[in-house]
């Protein structure tokens, strides 16, 4: 078995609202990724996937607070570390995080090359400007980015190019884990392809050792990541390989998600589109028992009382439901 590059045990983080209430957006989440692999996280808005991404950095700022749990990157436990230490030794070197719409985050008054210098200096690495420039040029060439982009301002680049540049800058120190939150949602499909190709190249050539990809677009996840994990109301509800998750989901929510996929392929027009009625629960007062119970077609009364644990059924497959796998698959078969 390949080395686990990222291990997360029972991570819990919360938001504190202005009224002082606690909202546990990431509730005892455990996951791991092997070296060279990528994990996709899917779920509807508010399920906690973006919060999870932020929490994995180990760098918290109000109103997000770390509560409990461990984050171990390549054997190093970074949870509960002092923010300054995290900033200097973890961000950029162990973990790189690319938030949504990162391409708009570049200061338009500075040239691209300057940002790379900033990263190097912030990590107190002793390199001269010439050395930095050379490293940057090499990196850009490897990633298929034009070297003259280093001398341009961010506003002179197209959207897709900007996003790729931001990703290149964030990973200049070859972090172990790259976390990308909707990196291509704001781009047209052609630019999206370019961004995804670059990210896959980075993973395949070992520039980053593993990748976490967050998006709500399931066809994209299917084509990009090795594994897919579905989150609901702050918890993981299912995980498996991409193929397994799309074609053979176990959890009722995952099944609902996969059956709402629309692609321009033959046969799409003949299949019935499904909806999952209702809304996710309010995380200020999470319900007792299974959090999906009041939207679940297959729920029985005990589902609202007993909280199902995350069951491991082998081969890296996990799901959170009190109903056994065989029973669920039987019901699904009868519906199709």
């Amino acid at each position: 078995m390949a080395k686990k590059i990222l291990e997360v045990h029972e991570l819990t983080t919360k938001y504190i609202t202005r009224q002082g209430e606690d909202v546990y957006s990431v509730d005892h989440v455990s996951l791991d990724i092997e070296e060279g692999k990528s994990l996709g996280i899917a779920g509807e808005s508010g399920c906690g996937k973006s919060t999870l991404a932020l929490s994995l950095m180990g760098y918290y700022f109000a109103p997000l607070h770390y509560t409990s749990g461990e984050i171990i990157i390549d054997g190093k436990n970074i949870s509960g570390m002092d923010p300054d230490v995290v900033r200097k030794t973890v961000l950029g070197t162990e973990v790189a995080y690319i938030p949504q719409a990162a391409m708009n985050a570049m200061n338009p008054t500075r040239k691209v090359g300057k940002f790379i210098e900033d990263v190097i200096f912030a990590h107190e690495l002793k390199m001269t400007k010439e050395e930095i420039r050379e490293m940057a040029e090499q990196r850009f060439a490897k990633l298929g980015l034009p070297v003259d982009a280093l001398d341009k301002y961010s506003v002179e680049l197209s959207g897709g190019m900007r996003q790729r540049v931001v990703i290149a800058i964030s990973t200049i120190l070859s972090p172990k884990v790259l976390i990308a939150d909707e990196p291509s949602s704001a781009l047209d499909v052609t630019s999206q392809k370019m961004v995804i190709k670059m990210m896959k190249d980075m993973l395949n050539t070992g520039m980053v050792k593993s990748m976490i990809f967050i998006t709500h677009e399931l066809p994209l996840l299917y084509n990009v990541t090795d594994d897919i994990m579905v989150m609901y109301a702050g918890q993981i509800v299912e995980r498996g390989t991409a193929h397994e998750m799309v074609f053979d989901p176990i959890h009722p929510y995952s099944r609902g998600l996969m059956r709402s996929i629309l692609v321009p392929e033959e046969g799409t027009r003949d299949v019935k589109l499904t909806a999952i009625p209702g809304t996710p629960p309010n995380l200020k007062h999470p319900p007792a028992g299974c959090r999906f119970a009041d939207r679940c077609r297959y729920a029985n009364p005990s589902c609202k009382v007993i909280t199902p644990p995350l069951l491991d059924i082998g081969g890296g497959r996990t799901y959170r439901c009190s109903l056994p796998v065989e029973q669920l698959k039987e019901v699904y078969a009868s519906e199709d």
């Binding site: 504190i16 202005r18 109000a62 109103p63």
Partner: protein, 420 residues
């Protein structure tokens, strides 16, 4: 709405500003009930220091009470020769070479000190010999003053009051233990802030002036806000040529300074009409521009919103769209703008009055006019009458401060930022 109000009054900054402002407003409203004097009436000639002034004539005509204060005698002595003076005397005698070992500034040794002084001090002698530490003219003047005081003091000297003239004259003896009750004396006045150069009670004048300045600020602020709102709404929502024309006018008003306009208007309305309202109107009419610009930019971003488009598709009239779909969305900005306009209106009046362009000086006092008088009549140059300008500055500062504090508090409620 209720929730917003609750949040507003829970905001600490708003609350502090509001309290300070309300205290000022209440003082302005309640004070005249207690002190009914006309603030512009002259009480004296020129500056009078703060204090209580009692008419000696009336005191002598008031029934006396017998009061024996324990330290009466010492206090009389102290009043004549304070400690500093006594120390000066000792120093001088020492410089003369007199043995001062047995002397000090205490009351017990006063007699000895006086005896030593009278025996040794001579004005001509001081001038001729120029003793060490007392060589300058100023020092010798000080010594002379002390000497005069001693000569002029008449402690334990019998005093009597003569009423009438000639054969009808009656004589009453005044004893050291004769006291009058101050509020039985027919004429007395307490001037906590003394008088200004015109002899007017500064405190009463200040309260009245604050009230007038607040009114000016309110009128100017209201006019400026309403004008700015109207111009901003029309320019922002209608756009096109209306926008171009209105912004052109706004630019003209920015470029022309208020006081030039004021001079022109005052010249044309003549001396008599230079009142408070004119001043307020002119300030309002020249300071609406930044409100208009701020409203306009808000409206421009609002007019393309979906709910506005939906209103159009529902067939609503222009007036209805502007009042129900745009105006409530900018209400918080308008309230904040109004507060700032009031504050700047008060300051603008102060500036104008300081330049001599304020309302007529014979009608009402304003904060700016009081500062102007203080400047013109040398309150801080020749007379050191701090009470004539310092409290005014304090009040202006407090007004501005409290209004701005309220504004910051409101800003925090309406535009909350992510905090811990």
């Amino acid at each position: 709405m209720k929730n917003t109000l609750r949040n507003v009054f829970h905001s600490p900054r708003f609350l502090v500003g509001f309290i300070i402002f309300m205290v000022m407003v209440l003082t302005v409203l309640i004070y005249p009930w207690f002190v009914r004097r006309d603030p512009l009436v002259s009480l004296g000639k020129g500056f009078l220091e703060p204090g209580t002034y009692v008419s000696v004539y009336d005191a002598n005509n008031t029934g006396t009470y017998r009061v024996e204060l324990p330290e009466a005698a010492e206090k009389r002595l102290e009043a004549t020769l304070p400690t500093e003076d006594r120390q000066t005397m000792i120093d001088y005698l020492k410089a003369m070479g007199v043995d001062v070992s047995g002397l000090d500034t205490s009351n017990e040794k006063m007699e000895d000190l006086l005896a030593a002084w009278n025996a040794n001090y001579d004005e001509a002698d001081a001038k001729k010999n120029k003793y060490e530490g007392f060589a300058t003219q100023a020092k010798r003047n000080a010594l002379r003053r002390i000497d005069n005081k001693i000569k002029g003091s008449n402690n334990d000297v019998a005093m009597s009051v003569v009423r009438g003239e000639g054969d009808d004259a009656t004589v009453t003896t005044v004893e050291g233990s004769d006291y009058v009750k101050v509020n039985e004396v027919a004429n007395s006045v307490t001037l906590p802030l003394g008088t200004d150069n015109f002899g007017r009670d500064t405190l009463t004048e200040l309260v009245k002036a604050t009230g007038v300045s607040l009114i000016i600020g309110l009128i100017a602020g209201t006019i400026a806000t309403l004008l700015g709102l109207l111009v901003g709404l029309l320019a922002g929502y209608l756009g096109g040529i209306v926008d171009d024309i209105l912004m052109f006018i706004a630019n003209i008003f920015t470029v022309i300074p208020g006081f030039v306009l004021l001079i022109l208007i005052y010249y044309s309305v003549g001396q008599e009409a230079r009142g408070v309202t004119t001043c307020a109107i002119v300030i309002g009419v020249t300071s609406w521009v930044w409100t208009a610009r701020s409203v306009r930019s808000q409206v421009i971003s609002l007019r393309n919103r979906d709910h506005v488009n939906l209103s159009k598709l529902s067939g609503h009239s222009l007036f209805r769209i502007v009042t129900t779909d745009i105006l409530p969305y900018i209400a918080s900005y308008v309230v904040m703008a109004f507060i700032l306009q009031v504050s700047s209106g008060i300051l603008a009046e102060a500036q104008l009055s300081l330049l001599g362009l304020g309302p007529k000086t014979t009608d009402v006092p304003t904060l700016g006019l009081m500062m102007n008088w203080a400047k013109l009549f040398g309150a801080y140059t020749s007379s050191n009458a701090w009470w004539a300008y310092f409290p005014v500055i304090l009040v202006i500062a407090l007004t501005s401060f409290s209004l701005n504090l309220m504004n910051t508090g409101l800003d925090q409620v309406f535009n909350p930022t992510l905090r811990d």
